[in-house]
């Protein structure tokens, strides 16, 4: 019973030949079990998931079988499949932006799922046409069930939201609606394909918690797919690790995390920034991820494996049964035996022996693997490179001509009276949920938005927006954007894109060519990439190019707006290492914007937490992230997936309020566990706690509480 996938092979036909997406995956999901499927992008996880519900088009299943409760899905006819999809198998996709139909209300979309479940065989074509005009769930019973489902997935005030359209929901709420649609079928197996990758850490925690609750209440099996082993480990009973379309290791979560056997599992675990000391280079997975070429005769991981032997190349690795129901596809005893920490050390020490000549091909590029362990925290005293004094940035909510002429539009204050300093050589982590104004603040610093009040000072000089800045001031700040795919002009080669800032700064041709070459070596990419177009590079490589472009004019400040949020965990590790090396070598100051506290903890010297455009807490990273003096920071920390059991109900409840109409008193009070009457009336002032400042009436008691509960991160490892 349950789901079992055996020896699944899926292939895509393309012009350039077949792409081998899945090459013999086998695993099972027992009823009521939560299983995590983990691997880097391109390892065949999503194709496997889609094959289970038979949505593998345009791929084709060439070999193997998928069985679900005695039905062979690989040979089932359309009618059987429809019934199974309608009642037993449900799927939740990654991007909640595109998976809901924008022209129907969410209630109607859930009601449709209910109707299909009640009668999966009926396809009332004419009825649908007629029903199209009037609301489709006038019957009270259905509306009641829809409300129940909305409440079930944790949407506050479902009665008020049921008739809203998808665009009126935030990303997290939309993902909950997707969950409700999936649950409407009362499925016995839910397949969730990266359900939280596009979401905030706090929202992610809430969704994962909801999944766990649903599993408990309904006995529903869950197949949770993710590239982030940290996310999966919170929730799952068992973990299946996939590489190049093959399962390389599987086993119960706790054993797999404490003593991973396959080198790939170890590498994936090592990449997590939460597991390393802050500032230390992260262990990376060498080599490039699988590209869909036919699998080699021997072990699939051989090219990237530090323990590979000659024999690994020739013979396929057998599947070994370990104790505790674990299986691993690796026949090299010392590869299995080496534990995580020892592996890191051994790779570090070999690199040191070979000196700086040791290079690893990382992400297609050449990276010098020299974890010198330099302290990026070394701080040069002196004037701050960048300072913000009472900066406020507001937008008009309507851009219509009439509104502009009459001046009738509301103003949305995205950044509200923020004062901050960035010192030379330091990394300031700016954290907060989506929509808290951290990106707007970064854009104001870069000059892409002009502040409505307050001053931005660069090296002591007040600066305006981009158009008002001098060439020298423009050169001072480099910006790296979140999505590497759109930050380079697709119609120009990478080399041309890199050269452009130099052209604008008036450099001569020969000097430009030298600098471009220099930049390529700075970010560890081969010069030959200069002739390539952005679409020919991977995400990690593109982000390296974007970093190189930001560095072209030798800035002293880099504004990094979620530079790794769009990347795989393994690629993120290489990019974070690169940023660390660059900072040590060039003495750069970073303004590092991120919603991921694990990443911020790894890179930042100081941390500033933002909420509804306001700063709520500022202080040294070590203090703020171990003894938060503001309940908001504490809640953000709770939400970080760190391999522990799920955060309890102390996680951040509800959604941030609308920035057009911020609450009176402390902006955070509607969601704050400590809030009392005083917080609803009086806006708190800055309180100093240790080296940090917090804007909370109860800053001291909050910090003390978190000290006493030993919420100390560093102990975790």
């Amino acid at each position: 019973m349950g789901l079992s996938v055996s020896d699944l092979h899926v292939r895509f036909r393309t012009r350039s030949g077949p792409v081998h997406a899945v090459n013999g995956a086998s695993f099972a999901v027992e009823p009521g079990e939560i299983v995590g499927l983990v691997g880097e992008s391109g390892c065949g996880k999503s194709v496997t998931a889609r094959s289970i519900v038979r949505l593998e088009e345009p791929g084709e299943i060439v070999r193997g079988s998928i069985e679900f409760d005695g039905t062979t899905l690989t040979s089932a006819d359309d009618r059987t499949l429809r019934r199974l999809r309608g009642r037993e198998l449900a799927m939740v996709f990654q991007d909640p932006e595109t998976t809901l139909n924008p022209v129907y209300t969410v209630g109607e979309q859930i009601a449709e799922a209910l109707r299909v479940t009640d009668d999966p065989d009926s396809q009332p074509f004419v009825g649908e046409l007629l029903a199209g005009v009037r609301s489709r769930f006038t019957s009270r019973a259905n509306r009641g069930r829809v409300l129940e489902l909305l409440a079930d997935v944790g949407i506050p005030r479902p009665g008020a939201r049921i008739d809203d359209y998808p665009h009126q929901f935030s990303g997290g709420m939309r993902q909950r609606v997707m969950l409700a649609i999936a649950l409407a079928r009362r499925p016995s197996l839910l397949i969730a394909d990266e359900p939280t990758t596009a979401l905030d850490t706090t929202t992610q925690a809430a969704i994962l918690e909801r999944l766990a609750g649903l599993n408990e209440d309904h006995g529903m099996g869950v197949l949770l797919i993710s590239h982030d082993i940290g996310v999966v480990s919170q929730l799952c009973d068992r973990i299946v690790v996939m590489y190049d379309g093959v399962v390389v290791e599987s086993g119960p979560t706790s054993e797999l995390l404490s003593s991973p056997a396959h080198p790939y599992t170890k590498a994936l675990l090592g990449c997590l920034p939460g597991r390393s000391e802050p500032g230390e280079p992260l262990p990376t997975v060498g080599g490039s991820p699988p590209d869909g070429s036919p699998p080699p005769a021997g072990c699939i991981f051989v090219e990237r494996c530090p323990f590979a032997r000659e024999a690994c190349r020739e013979t396929e690795q057998p599947i070994l049964e370990l104790k505790g129901g674990r299986t691993v596809r690796c026949d090299v005893p010392e590869a299995r035996a080496t534990d995580l920490e020892a592996r890191d050390e051994s790779s570090n020490s070999t690199d040191r022996e070979e000196g700086r000549t040791a290079t690893l091909a990382v992400d297609g590029g050449v990276q010098s693997a020299s974890p010198t362990g330099s302290e990026p925290t070394q701080r040069r005293e002196g004037q701050s490179v960048l300072s913000l004094e009472g900066v406020t940035t507001a937008f008009r909510t309507s851009d219509a001509l009439v509104d502009r002429l009459l001046g009738t539009t509301d103003r949305l204050t995205a950044v509200d009276d923020v004062s901050l300093e960035l010192r030379p050589g330091e990394t300031l982590g700016l954290v907060g949920e989506s929509g808290c104004g951290k990106s707007t603040l970064a854009r104001t610093v870069a000059g892409l938005e002009s502040p409505t009040a307050g001053t931005v000072r660069l090296q002591g000089e007040p600066v305006g927006a981009v158009d008002d800045r001098s060439v020298a001031q423009l050169a001072e700040v480099g910006v790296v954007f979140q999505n590497p795919g759109t930050s380079l002009n697709p119609t120009r080669t990478v080399g041309e894109s890199l050269e452009e800032p130099l052209v604008e700064a008036g450099w001569s041709g020969a000097r430009r060519a030298d600098r471009v070459e220099e930049l390529f070596s700075l970010v560890d990419l081969p010069d030959a990439y200069a002739d390539r177009y952005p679409r020919q590079l991977s995400g990690g490589q593109l982000q390296r190019v974007a970093i190189a472009r930001a560095l072209a004019l030798e800035p002293s400040v880099l504004v990094l707006d979620e530079p790794t949020a769009a990347l795989d965990v393994s690629v993120q590790a290489t990019v974070l290492n690169l940023l660390g090396e660059l900072q040590a070598a060039l003495g750069l100051s970073y303004l590092f914007v991120s919603h991921d506290l694990a990443v911020v903890r790894h890179v930042a010297d100081r941390v500033a937490a933002m909420y509804l455009g306001r700063l709520l807490e500022v202080g040294p990273a070590r203090q703020v992230l171990s003894r938060p003096a503001h309940p908001y920071t504490a809640a953000l920390l709770e939400a970080v997936p760190d391999g522990d059991a799920l955060a309890s109900e102390s996680g951040l409840a509800g959604e941030p309020p609308s920035p057009t109409d911020p609450p009176a008193g402390c902006a955070f009070h509607p969601r704050c566990p400590l809030a009392d009457d005083r917080c609803t009336h009086r806006e708190p002032t800055w309180e100093t706690v240790g080296d940090a400042r917090s804007r909370c009436h109860y800053a001291k008691s909050c910090a003390d509480e978190h000290t006493s509960t030993q919420h100390d991160w560093k102990q975790h490892d």
């Binding site: 393309t14 892409l448 423009l474 050169a475 759109t486 930050s487 604008e504 679409r535």
Partner: protein, 309 residues
């Protein structure tokens, strides 16, 4: 792309190297314009054929398109006159060939004017935004509010019937769709991080428009222009048919149809030949435009790229 392929060695003489170079470059150029797409092949072939006929045709034919030969009036198709002669004894095939020159030249010039005007306005409106955008787009709305053919009729009527005035009329009406398409695409592209990055390293506005915005919005313009060439040929012929365009004895397809109308029953080839020519031209441009739309689709581009690398 081809530069990165291994070059053939020079050992077997320069001629083979040159030949290999030519082969490599023609094949990659052909692939770039999408010669692999069957619609592009068919439409492009038809259009190329027309262009060749328009260019070399007059050299091949022994007749003068306007010289009258009243002794050879209204002859049916024969070896001497493959498409017969008209009421004044002029060779229809010859007039058709000269007419292709007129029609194609008119279509190309009018389209070029539309593209330049429309793209500039769209680019300005999209990039500058605000009041400029509002003003320019109202201008576009006004233009679109007039039915194109009727406006062209009015203009041609006011300025008097001539080919030059048809050209003016056709250029005044069609640019609005380009402005809209370009503006929409500019709006989609101008907030992309790569444009913001360009602003951050101090690129002046005109260079942002030229280097970053224009190349990204050009593909839909090319498709639209190709389709437009066909409609302009049709509209110009229509105006001439109504007597507002080319005046007799100028060999123009619309004028030829108008002249042959009276002999529809006795000499059907007089109307059929230019009619079929117009039809083939319009089909050719439309199919080519359709194919180009598929080929220039960004997803498609990527697939082709993977296929070649």
């Amino acid at each position: 792309m081809s530069e990165r392929h291994a070059r053939p060695s020079n050992a077997d003489g320069p001629s083979s190297t040159v030949r290999a170079w030519v082969r490599e470059h023609t094949s990659s150029t052909l692939a770039r314009v999408g010669w692999t797409n069957s619609s592009v092949r068919f439409g492009g072939g038809l259009v190329c054929l027309l262009a060749i006929i328009a260019v070399v045709g007059p050299v091949l034919t022994p007749y003068d398109p306007t010289a009258q030969a009243l002794d050879a009036r209204l002859q049916g198709p024969s070896l001497a006159h493959p498409l017969g002669t008209d009421a004044l004894g002029r060779d229809v095939a010859t007039r058709l060939v000269y007419g292709a020159r007129v029609s194609l030249a008119l279509a190309v010039v009018a389209t070029a004017l539309r593209v330049v005007v429309g793209t500039t306005i769209g680019l300005l409106a999209g990039y500058l935004g605000g009041l400029v955008d509002a003003a320019l787009m109202r201008l576009v709305d006004i233009q679109l509010a007039f039915p194109g053919l009727v406006l062209a009729l009015v203009i041609a009527g006011v300025l008097g019937p001539s080919l030059r005035n048809v050209l003016i009329a056709l250029s005044v009406v069609g640019w609005a769709s380009y402005a809209r398409v370009v503006r929409g695409n500019v709006l989609a592209v101008k907030d992309r991080p790569f444009v913001e990055a360009a602003r951050l390293y101090g690129t002046p506005g005109r260079r942002i428009a030229r280097r970053h915005l224009l190349p990204s919005v050009l593909n839909p313009v090319v498709v639209l222009a190709t389709m437009n060439l066909g409609t302009i040929v049709l509209t110009a012929a229509g105006l001439s048919f109504l007597g507002l365009g080319a005046q007799p004895p100028t060999p123009e397809w619309g004028t030829m149809i108008a002249g042959g109308r009276d002999y529809l029953r006795s000499a059907p080839w007089l109307v059929t030949a230019p009619g079929v020519a117009i039809m083939l031209t319009v089909i050719g441009f439309n199919v080519l435009g359709d194919g180009l739309r598929d080929v220039l689709d960004p997803d498609h581009l990527e697939e082709r790229d993977r296929g070649r690398s």
